[in-house]
């Protein structure tokens, strides 16, 4: 990767079992990595040469350079 990517997101789980899945960069987007966060756990994830998209399921707060988003509760 030529440019050092500093883009990252912060995910804080608001409930147990929040899923974070990284999707591959390239022609086909596969789920290449997953992570389970329990309530209060924080993950700081970078976009890399392998990961071009990140999918989050469950109740969580997500901070990006564009602002803070929280996922909707399923209740």
């Amino acid at each position: 990767m030529s440019l050092p990517s500093t883009e990252f997101i912060v995910i804080k789980a608001l409930e147990n079992g929040v899923n974070v899945i990284g999707l591959t960069r390239g022609e086909s987007t596969k789920f290449h990595h997953s992570e389970k966060l329990d309530k209060g756990e924080i993950m700081i994830a970078q976009f890399t040469e392998h990961t071009s998209a990140i999918k989050i399921r469950g109740k969580a707060v997500v901070q990006t350079s564009h602002g803070t988003i929280d996922t909707l509760s399923e209740e």
């Binding site: 596969k30 290449h32 990595h33 997953s34 999918k55 399921r57």
Partner: protein
Amino acid sequence: MSIIAMDDLEQQCWECNEKGTISDEACPKCDGKGYIATALGQTLLDFFKRHSDK
């Protein structure tokens, strides 16, 4: 967390809901596995692969 649970090692694929297939084709998101390894799962898998064949 003192004991590793299965969902610490792998998570079910959102695309195929752990079936591994979508309309009889291998799921393109998980390559038909139905599950995606976590960092912990991948670490254990790499460890076993390196040490199990001797």
